[in-house]
């Protein structure tokens, strides 16, 4: 069975703050030497256009770009190289389609997110979700975002350091730390200005674990 990933389809955000978030993946990533030569060529091309995630060896290569022009330049070069590998770009649909039109290729298949259904009250606020969904495997906990927002506010931890720590949780390294810094700054401001209330305790997802501490002692109300 192939090792596959389906984790860049639900990155939350506004049109404005998604403009610096582009994830590029190529498949297959494994095979006979003739395929691996193409995979290496794909990687060489992407590296030339300054992706922001690490270049450490992984089972597959996913590159994150913080600028549409960089993504488009990489895509253009990939098209010209005629590697024949499938390439998937996650990001704003209309902008990706426009990039394809400019470089002379055509969008083939799309995967839309239809959002989150069910007990959505268990989800954290939009401001937190925009950060956590950049790790599609949900390894960046909402409580960690909240924790660092508080440390930035009270302990003067830098936004950059906080985002690097959160990025470490994302095994696939597709957590866009550049975008995270922007969003984290906005989150801290929202809390400072009272526009975002502290998270409420919820066993299901969003609450801060310190709010749950009394569960075991029996002294507090169950969430």
């Amino acid at each position: 069975m192939e090792r596959t990933v389906t984790h860049s389809n639900h990155r939350q955000g506004t049109r404005e703050n998604l403009k610096n978030d582009w994830v590029m993946l190529s498949l297959p990533y494994r095979g006979p030497p003739v395929i691996m030569e193409k995979v290496e060529k794909y990687n060489e091309i992407c590296r030339r256009h300054h992706p922001i995630n690490s270049d450490r060896p992984r089972g597959w290569y996913i590159w994150v770009f913080d600028d549409r022009d960089k993504m488009e330049a990489a895509l253009k070069e990939l098209a010209e190289a005629e590697l024949g590998l499938s390439v998937v770009v996650s990001g704003l649909f209309d902008e990706v389609a426009e990039c394809c039109r400019r470089i002379g290729t055509r969008v083939h298949t799309v995967n839309h997110s239809l959002g989150f259904w069910g007990r959505t009250e268990k989800l954290p606020p939009r401001e937190i979700l925009e950060i956590t969904t950049m790790c599609g495997h949900a390894l960046v906990a909402p409580s960690l975002v909240w924790h660092f927002a508080e440390r930035i506010r009270r302990e003067h931890v830098s936004v950059a350091a906080a985002c690097q720590e959160m990025r470490k949780m994302c095994i696939c390294d597709i957590f866009n730390h550049v975008r995270a810094e922007e969003l984290m700054g906005q989150l801290v401001n929202a809390i400072q200005e009272g526009r975002l209330a502290p998270l409420q305790p919820s066993r299901g997802g969003a609450g801060h674990p310190r709010n749950l501490m009394t569960n075991l002692s029996g002294e507090g109300a169950a969430p």
Binding site: M1, E2, R3, T4, T6, H7, S8, N9, H10, R15, L18, L25, L27, G59, A79, G84, L85, S86, V87, V88, V89, S90, L92, F93, A97, C100, T105, R106, V107, H108, T109, V110, N111, H112, S113, L114, G115, F116, W117, G118, R119, K122, L123, L129, T132, T133, A138, L139, A141, S143, L144, K168, I171, R203, G204, G205, P209, L216, S217, G218
Partner: protein
């Protein structure tokens, strides 16, 4: 995951890292502890290296708890025997001489899985898995970050089966079904909790509205959330046939998502 009580200093720095809030302070000792039934074995607390005295460590897992790790830790290997047939055939001979853990040590990531789904539309240009006139769908139960139990998955699979959905056989979830026609899962796994389990299938475009409506109904019956994916081949004129169908139900497709940009060769037939 386990916390060695004698090593824990009670700093509680690990608590915010847990995606499911299974790590809490023990009100009596002041130390961190893990609510075993809430822990999904994702390994975040362990990999974070946030514990100075290394009090957090993985425990040996037995079936069916192994499923928690397999559906929560993207770096986890297949450990459950139910998935053994999915291990790449070239390793079958090796498995006669060594157990899976030894094989994993030798082969590394080649034996690991992530996402628990299939290749879906990523290679649709060369594989043609999704044809014109059909829509791919997925319900990613537990995403994003809420987590779920297999009983929630079964609630969704049974609802989908009731409207004639056929589940994608390449998805490992089908190995956990006792009846693929009704979407019934094994009884012994229903309480196991995980971060995400993907239910995959495709339907004719003519059935899409009915199936989406059923998914919306069943969303009211689960104790979690699920993320919904809608896959479509793009028409020659650039239009996306699934979008107006979703919009007719008041469902607004996302402005961002995955695009297969059509660079794969040779192109597969979509008819």
């Amino acid at each position: 995951m386990i916390i060695k009580e004698d090593l824990c200093t009670g700093c509680l720095e690990c608590l915010p890292y847990c995606p499911t809030q299974a790590m809490v302070e023990d009100g009596k000792t002041g130390r961190a502890t893990i609510i075993e039934d809430e822990c999904v074995e994702c390994g975040v607390c362990y990999r974070a290296r946030v514990c100075g005295p290394d009090a957090i460590y993985p425990q040996d897992l037995e079936w069916p708890r192994t499923l928690r790790m397999e559906f929560s830790d993207p770096s986890a290997p297949y450990m459950s025997p139910v998935f053994e047939h999915r291990i790449i055939s070239r390793f079958q001979a090796d498995l006669r001489d060594m157990d899976r853990r030894q094989l994993l040590d030798r082969e590394g990531e080649a034996l690991t899985i992530s996402g628990r789904g299939t290749i879906e539309m990523k290679m649709n240009d060369v594989m043609g898995r999704f044809k014109r006139g059909r829509a791919g769908l997925a319900a990613e139960v537990g995403r994003p970050g809420v987590g779920a139990r297999f009983r929630d998955v079964q609630t969704v699979t049974r609802a989908l089966a009731s409207v004639g959905v056929r589940f994608e056989p390449q998805n490992p979830l089908t190995d956990l079904m006792t009846d693929i026609q009704t979407g019934t899962l094994r009884e012994d796994i229903l309480n196991e909790k995980f971060l995400s389990c993907i239910i995959e299938f495709d339907v004719p475009l003519g059935d899409l509205a009915r199936v989406l409506a059923r998914m919306r109904e069943v969303a009211q019956q689960v104790d979690t959330v699920f993320a919904v994916d809608l896959i479509s081949v793009v028409s020659e004129d650039g239009s996306i046939p699934t979008v107006p169908i979703a919009e007719s139900l008041g469902i607004e497709p996302s402005i961002a998502g995955k695009t297969n940009v059509g660079l794969g060769r040779p192109l597969a037939s979509l008819d």
